[in-house]
């Protein structure tokens, strides 16, 4: 016997969790317009209704309707898009709830679980007492819940959609339980359900619904009434399997849920630690244990999260990202040590905890001509030392941007050799004498001032672009004896908050110094760099 737990229209139920069904306005869930992975809208995404509440369905708002058409039928319809974060949170709560009822359960789909009742102790009042207890324990979740029992996992899911077979928990706003003695599962109880209920993700069935629709097969009862052989001959084994499911001849194994392994360790110290050496000694043991666990599962870690609790009640937390996954305790300890040397504690340490993020170990096969470091373990350490010295987010590989904006680049996080992207060839000198689009325009290397130095400039303002005559302050004030330019530059004109423009000049001072000067707006000049 199996029990299915289903939150009807889970994504919508999550969003309407605190809304009273009777008072709620017409509300429907539409498919999200944005593709979360790209952040861009899918070119063919047309907002379509995925689910509608009772008030909306009174206005013929049905799943599959386009949002525009739904609004034409019910102008006051509130359209909501799924909230994946909330769904995740509630899914976690549901999982915890089901696991409290029994050890062997399957997380079939978001908001849907199947529990194997075989291992549960049977009391004389079983199953009604157990059902009542189960539903009452679900009340704090404040999500409507359907619970149904059936002899097979798939039938228990189908039974959950039958008003005759299911036990329900709803809210108005107080929890309402419908726990009366129900008939034993029989096919006729689910016969009127739409054929679509068999084609959901929960069953991984691929039925040719177009053909079934042409045949006039609209309900599960219609499908079950077809001859199995004739059905399988025409629509293949999947159709035969669907037939078997309905007749209880298909009894699949549950894909049991098992909690993921955690790689965390903490220690409440018997006496406060005051120096780093003692702490490292303790951490070394902890890392050894965690790394052993990782190795036993063929995993490495991509980051270390360390938490320290001080005697005065303060806490210190930091996450260290590793350039390459590792499970060597000594390497990890070195990285920790480099970092901890920069930490100043306000009081002795009374507790530490470590959490390692498990990932697949890096597998890089170096080719014979490829560059690789002599000691691949020392580089993470070096990077850690540099990070500790410079501060976070100040170490990486600068990648020039394809932009006319001078000196524009982005920082790429440091990676080990072999994983760094090849540097752009655009600015490299071409021995064949090509003039590339990113041509610097001069053979002289420019030493940039970062940040540029603001200067006052005397200029001739009679022209479109003010022509500089002399530098009035800055590192090398004096008259300009020669200049090249102007070089007007502008970009991002399409964005009101990012548009920029400037005019650059290459200037020569009396002492032969060659400088690059930029005018951002009248009276606003900066020295960009000096030519070597």
């Amino acid at each position: 016997m199996y029990a299915s737990f289903q939150v009807p229209f889970f994504p919508l139920a999550v969003l309407l969790r605190d809304t009273l069904p009777e008072d709620s306005d017409p509300t429907a869930l539409v498919n999200p317009a944005a593709n979360p992975s790209s952040g861009k809208e899918s070119s063919h995404s047309i907002p379509v209704i995925l689910a509608a509440n009772h008030a909306a369905s009174q206005h013929q708002i049905i799943p599959g309707l386009t949002a525009t058409r739904a609004l034409s039928r019910c102008p006051q319809l509130a359209l909501l898009t799924p909230d994946p974060d909330a769904e995740r949170r509630h899914q976690d709560d549901l999982r915890q709830y089901v696991s409290s009822l029994g050890p062997d359960f399957e997380e079939t789909a978001p908001g849907i679980f199947i529990l194997d009742l075989l291992a549960l102790p049977r009391s004389p009042g079983f199953p009604l007492d157990w059902i009542e207890q189960a539903l009452r324990r679900a009340a704090p979740l404040r999500l409507p819940l359907h619970l149904a029992l059936a002899p097979t996992p798939d039938l228990s899911l189908l039974a959950g959609g039958s008003s005759v077979l299911r036990y329900t928990l709803s809210f108005n706003p107080e929890p309402l339980f419908r726990i009366t003695s129900q008939p034993t599962f029989h096919l006729q109880h689910i016969a009127s359900r739409s054929i679509a209920s068999l084609c959901s993700d929960s069953y991984s069935l691929k039925l040719d619904r177009d053909v079934l629709s042409l045949w006039g097969i609209k309900t599960l009862g219609d499908l079950a009434a077809l001859p199995r052989q004739g059905l399988a001959e025409r629509l293949g084994s999947e159709a035969g399997r669907a037939h078997d499911i309905l007749h209880g001849k298909q009894h699949r194994l549950l894909s049991l849920y098992r909690p993921p392994e955690k790689f965390s360790l903490y220690q409440d110290l018997e006496y406060p630690l005051e120096n780093l050496e003692a702490l490292l000694f303790s951490l070394n043991r902890g890392l050894g244990t965690l790394c052993s666990r990782l190795k036993s599962l063929h995993r490495a870690t991509s980051s270390i999260k360390i938490s320290l609790t001080f005697d005065d009640g303060n806490q210190y937390q930091h996450r260290l990202s590793l350039p390459e996954p590792s499970c060597h305790p000594s390497s990890l300890l070195e990285i920790l040590q480099v970092h901890l040397e920069t930490v100043h504690a306000s009081a002795p340490i009374i507790r530490w905890s470590l959490h390692l993020t498990p990932v697949l170990p890096g597998e890089t096969q170096h080719n014979i001509f490829g560059y690789s470091p002599r000691d691949s373990h020392s580089l993470p350490n070096t990077i850690a030392q540099l990070t500790a010295l410079l501060g976070p987010d100040r170490l990486g590989v600068p990648l020039p941007l394809a932009s006319h904006y001078p000196d524009s680049f982005r920082m790429k996080k440091p990676l080990l050799p072999g994983r760094n992207p090849k540097p752009s060839r655009e600015t490299d000198a071409d021995p064949t004498g090509s003039f590339s689009p990113g041509d610097p325009g001069t053979a002289l290397p420019l030493s940039r001032y970062r940040p540029p130095l603001p200067v006052h400039v005397a200029c001739n303002a009679g022209t479109r672009h003010p022509s500089p005559l002399a530098l009035l302050n800055g590192p090398c004030p004096g008259p300009i004896v020669a200049l090249n330019g102007p070089f007007p530059l502008s970009g991002n004109w399409w964005s009101s908050d990012k548009s920029w423009q400037r005019v650059e000049w290459d200037i020569q001072l009396a002492d032969k110094t060659l400088l690059r000067l930029a005018c951002h707006s009248p009276g606003s000049w900066t020295l960009e760099g000096s030519y070597q």
Binding site: S72, W215, G216, I217, T432, N484
Partner: protein, 1112 residues
């Protein structure tokens, strides 16, 4: 480092018109010594960001006397530049930027200037060949072959410019090789190395290298700013075009974009300052511009000659043959040629021969003869119908002498442009046969279609600019949906008036005012409107030249196979005096041709030219507005006018056709005419002198000819000025011409002391025709076809509907509406059957049609043909036999079974029986299975005795499947089924309704049916429901909407005011079935229209998607 004022190099001397070489010192170079010889316009698609006219106008402002437009791969904008230049007193030099593809290396982009007529011809040849892909180099060819076509081309008369953009990336070695190669090909004095300065740091390095190269190869230098746009701020659009060209967005484009705005057209003074260190480059631009002696004024285009036995005839011979054919045809047309007719023919022939048009008329005659010889129906339309010669030659069908039409409207000596002859052919394959005949007759490259410049319209402009600014596609979709139902101007001149509406739409589309890209989107949207987007082909305009059309204009392949187009549109061709013939496709002609063929097959030989034009039954049909499916008089507006107009003679129909047009509607001419016709208003001729002109139209100027004559009478316009007026009325590019000619008209009338009130009415009449009114001859030509279609519907309805159904899609109504109309005319419609149907719809008898297999969507033509051919050998014995012999694929098998096409097979009981049995045979086993079962009875079910597991379809199932597979159903009307189901639903929920009283406005029993509209009194409140077959919101209706609802009894007309439309816009535009409440309005002629106050979707969904005619 480059110093501020570099000292110029040593001197050499300028010799005549030959270029000055490098290292020249000129003692006194005059200021502003520069000519821009490398500008590109918007016709360098997705490169240039200014119209040719704008560039020329700006050049004139800046003091240029010459400018050269070298558009990418074509002379697309040259005509517009040429005439704009003439207007501003400039010379527009001709040239193009040719792109030679390289094998495995970047293409060579080479600007070419035309020096003389020979060079122009060579450039046209070269561009034509490049467009036809003749320059594809073979693998392993040398650079010389790599740069140029494998087949050598004649470079004489052309000057090439090697620019920094010619090769990308610019490579020193390759540059040297290319320059050497170009020098050898074009000659030392016909190649210039072009320097540009766009204030980029990298430019100087490139220029130094180019100067060294020029020195080394002794090639002269040339200065240019290579402008891509007229003014500095046009750079924004140029950047947007760059993104579109590279399929990227502004955020992603990076260094593909311009780094500043310096590529605008700069003044000679600015360029002189910019290149003061290279005076020879400046001077060369001037010398070269003076040397280039070709503008489009020297275009060598000749009217085509008529060929006999492959040889062109002399003008004298052409005139003689034309005269013979005219009088021969005249005797057939008129039986006896009266003096009046003879005089008219002689007058026309004299003018035609004097103007050298004989060959042109003979060519058109030959095309018509070819069509007739192939049994293809054709008829001339437009102003050609004013010519008695055209009538006698069989080109047109209406007698201009009998109708009193003005020949000068077609052809006169005073006209500055030449007329074109428009001929209607049945659309589809038959017209294509005629077009291909013309292509073959004048091959190779002697004929081509005129181009159609596709411009950015609001929806496409917004969609493209959304791409550029990286807005989601849904934003553009929402804009399109909103734009369709809102009234926003489409022209840049007036679009700003609608700024608020536009901003509102933008906001509703998901771009609020505070969006960082809002301003940019708005700017780019406005900027790109009316810009050329790409080149399409004109619907039927053909240009013929017996001297090789590719010497006159470059040709390029059209998207359609076996067609080529010229690079100019019809207006450009007309401006240059190039004669075209319009071979247009008319769906109704194809339908009528089919109807006549079916009549012939059924033993009824009908000659349309001999049908009576005084048939009372036909006029009764028109008076009753029973015109669904007919030509020109089937629209909702026409059907509303017909009962008021009550046409009883042919000319009434001519007026009817011309009356319901945007011109007369906007000019508010419809009601005055109808009022006067029905005696409710006195006839007013505006001015006593107009009595003769406006007599036939009761004082209302309905035709172009009348407007022209009015202008000639009241303002003293001569023929040339009248022609100018005609062109302004037909010219859709800009209303500038219209304003100018209206002003002239007004001033002339003032000079003649014409009353101001009369002046205003005359000018209003002219202005309303600018929105398109018909010439009388055109209206007569269309009325002939309209009358013939009505006559066929009255006297041969079965053949008429069969012809219509075989030529769908066409006309105003979907197939479903045509079938319902046929049923109302007591014609039974038999469904598609593999047992009986042919590919096309056939006539079973005078009262029954059998639908053809071609109506089934997704049934391949080959399968349909196999069905008919197999059946012609022997009828199908059963389903097995059918499957064996026809071998339809799985989808087709399901389709045929689902629509009931297999129901007539003897072992099929109903549609689902066929579906169940037909599903069993897998594709791959079909053949073997068939062989095995050839001698055994087929059993679709495993056990023949077992009962069929599937039940037959009900009406609703059949309706849904019919609509999804054919867009119509031969069963009951959807509204009949819907009404029944609705009632059933209500009765099943009777218990509830006892508690809630039934609202009569929402009860199917109380809804008024379309056939009941006639008995409803004016002002009565009613509700009706139906399937939407038409939603219209014409620009002439001030935002009001007209809806046609169809039910099982007919069609009901609804009027939705602007405010109501705005309130129910979503319901109206998205729902297939509507429930409408309002009050009845009985208009003139007894037309019943529901003035709609409330609209809602029906509370019952059939789940069918019907086809409707929306917002056209």
């Amino acid at each position: 480092m480059h110093v501020i004022h570099p000292a110029p190099g040593p001197l050499r001397v300028v010799i005549n018109n030959y270029p000055v070489h490098a290292r020249l010192l000129l003692p006194d170079i005059p200021e502003n010594l520069f000519t821009e010889l490398y500008a590109r316009s918007s016709f360098s698609f997705l490169r240039g960001a200014s119209h040719p006219e704008e560039l020329v106008s700006r050049a004139a402002e800046l003091g240029y006397d010459t400018i050269a437009l070298l558009d990418h791969m074509g002379l697309y904008g040259s005509v517009r530049a040429h005439f704009a230049a003439k207007k501003h007193g400039l010379r527009a030099l001709v040239g193009a930027t040719a792109e030679f593809a390289g094998s495995g290396s970047p293409p060579l982009s080479l600007p070419l200037l035309v020096e003389n007529p020979a060079g122009y011809k060579n450039l046209c040849h070269l561009l034509t060949r490049l467009h036809h892909g003749e320059n594809l180099p073979h693998r392993g060819t040398s650079l010389k072959k790599h740069c140029f076509p494998v087949t050598p081309f004649d470079s004489s008369g052309m000057v090439a410019l090697l620019t920094p953009e010619s090769l990308s990336p610019l490579n020193k070695n390759k540059l040297l090789e290319t320059a050497t190669c170009l020098r050898d090909t074009f000659g030392r004095n016909n190649l210039y190395i072009t320097l540009t300065r766009h204030h980029r740091r990298a430019t100087e390095r490139i220029n130094h290298h180019l100067v060294d190269l020029a020195d080394h190869l002794k090639i002269p230098l040339l200065a240019s700013n290579a402008p891509l746009f007229a003014r500095r701020h046009d750079r924004l659009l140029a950047d947007a075009f760059t993104c579109l060209r590279h399929h990227t967005s502004l955020d992603e484009a990076g260094i593909l974009l311009e780094e500043n705005s310096e590529r605008h057209l700069k003044s000679p003074g600015q360029l002189s300052t910019l290149f003061e260190d290279y005076p020879q480059a400046l001077l060369n631009s001037q010398i070269l511009s003076e040397r280039l002696d070709f503008t489009l004024d020297r275009l060598d285009y000749k009217f085509p000659s008529y060929h006999e036995n492959g040889q062109p005839l002399s003008p004298g011979e052409e005139g003689r043959i034309l005269r013979e054919l005219t009088f021969q045809g005249g005797r057939e047309r008129y039986r006896t040629i009266s003096n009046r007719i003879r005089q008219q023919l002689e007058h026309e022939l004299a003018l035609i021969i004097r103007l050298g048009f004989s060959g042109y008329f003979l060519i058109v005659w030959e095309i018509v003869q070819f069509a007739r010889s192939q049994g293809i129906l054709c008829q001339g339309r437009g102003s050609a119908a004013n010519s008695a010669v055209c009538y006698c030659l069989g080109i047109t069908a209406c007698d201009p002498v009998g109708s009193g039409l003005l020949f000068e409207r077609f052809l006169s000596e005073n006209r500055r442009s030449w007329p074109d002859i428009d001929i209607d052919f049945p659309s589809g394959n038959r017209r294509e046969a005629v077009i291909q005949h013309v292509f073959q007759k004048y091959s190779p490259r002697g004929a081509a279609m005129t181009a159609n410049v596709i411009s950015y319209r609001p929806k496409s402009a917004f969609r493209e600019m959304c791409k550029v600014l990286d807005f989601p596609v849904a934003t553009a979709n929402r804009f399109s949906a909103l734009f369709s139902s809102m009234r926003i101007s489409e022209t840049p001149e007036t679009v700003e008036q609608d700024a608020n509406s536009l901003e509102k739409i933008l906001s509703q589309s998901g771009v609020p005012r505070n969006h960082p890209h809002f301003k940019a989107l708005l700017h780019l949207y406005h900027a790109v409107l009316s810009f050329p987007r790409h080149l399409g082909q004109h619907s039927g305009g053909m240009i013929i030249s017996d001297g090789g059309l590719d010497s006159v204009v470059p040709l390029q392949p059209a998207t359609m196979a076996n067609r080529t187009i010229v690079q100019w549109d019809k207006d450009d061709c007309e401006d240059l005096g190039i004669v075209k013939v319009d071979l247009l496709g008319l769906g109704m002609l194809a339908a009528m041709e089919d109807s006549l063929r079916i009549c012939r097959q059924r033993g009824k030989n009908i000659d349309l030219s001999r049908i009576p034009y005084d048939d009372p039954a036909t006029y009764d049909l028109l008076c009753n507005a029973d015109t669904i499916g007919t030509f020109q008089v089937e629209s909702r507006a026409q059907m509303a006018t017909l009962p008021v107009m009550k046409p009883r003679v042919f000319y009434d129909l001519v007026v009817e056709v011309a009356l319901i047009r945007p011109g007369p509607i906007v000019g508010d001419l419809v009601h005055p005419y109808l009022n006067r016709r029905n005696g409710r208003e006195a006839i007013d001729y505006i001015h006593p002198e107009f009595r003769n002109v406006l007599d036939r139209t009761l004082g209302v100027p309905l035709f172009q000819e009348q407007v022209l004559r009015m202008a000639m009478i009241i303002a003293g316009f001569n023929g040339s000025e009248a022609d100018e007026l005609r062109r302004a009325m037909a010219f859709k590019r800009s209303d500038q011409r219209m304003r100018s000619i209206s002003e002239k008209l007004r001033s002339r009338m003032s000079q003649r002391s014409i009353d101001r009130h009369v002046q205003k009415r005359v000018v209003d009449s002219v202005s309303s025709f600018a929105l398109y009114g018909f010439p009388e001859s055109h209206a007569i030509s269309f009325a002939l076809i309209a009358y013939a279609s009505c006559w066929l519907k009255v006297h041969h309805p079965a053949e008429f509907f069969a012809g219509l159904l075989n030529n769908q899609p066409m006309g105003f109504y979907p197939v479903a509406s045509l079938l319902h109309d046929a049923r109302r005319h007591e014609i039974r419609i038999r469904p598609v059957s593999v047992f009986y149907s042919c590919c096309e719809t056939t006539v079973l008898d005078d009262r029954a049609l059998r639908l053809g297999l071609q109506h089934l969507k997704n049934l391949s033509v080959s399968t349909a043909i196999r069905i008919v051919e197999s059946r012609s050998r022997s009828q199908f014995r059963n389903l097995s036999d059918f499957l064996q012999r026809v071998r339809p694929n799985k989808k087709e098998r399901r389709l045929l079974a689902a629509v009931g096409a297999l129901n007539d097979l003897n072992d099929v009981e109903h549609r689902r029986d066929a579906l169940w049995k037909g599903e069993q045979i897998p594709d791959e086993d079909l053949f073997e299975c068939a062989e095995l079962q050839e001698h055994a009875p087929f059993s679709g079910n495993s056990n023949p005795d077992s009962p069929l597991p599937l039940s037959p379809m009900n009406d609703l199932d059949r309706l849904a499947i019919d609509y999804s597979s054919q867009d119509y159903s031969t069963g009951p009307h959807p509204m009949a089924i819907l009404r029944r189901e609705w009632l059933r639903n209500l009765s099943s929920s009777k218990g509830d309704s006892d508690n809630h009283p039934v609202n009569p406005a929402r009860h199917p029993s109380f809804l008024v049916r379309a056939c009941d509209f006639q008995r409803i009194t004016h002002g009565q409140q009613i509700s009706c429901a139906g399937l939407v077959i038409c939603r219209q919101r014409p620009s002439t209706a001030n935002g009001h909407c007209f809806i046609s609802l169809e039910d099982e009894t007919g069609t009901a007309n609804l009027f939705v005011s602007r405010s109501i439309f705005d309130r129910y816009r979503l319901v109206i535009t998205t729902e297939d079935f509507l429930l409408c409440h309002g009050r009845m309005q009985i208009g003139e002629g007894g037309s019943h229209t529901l003035y709609t106050i409330e609209i809602e979707p029906l509370p019952f969904d059939l789940g069918i998607a019907a086809v409707s005619h929306d917002f056209h």
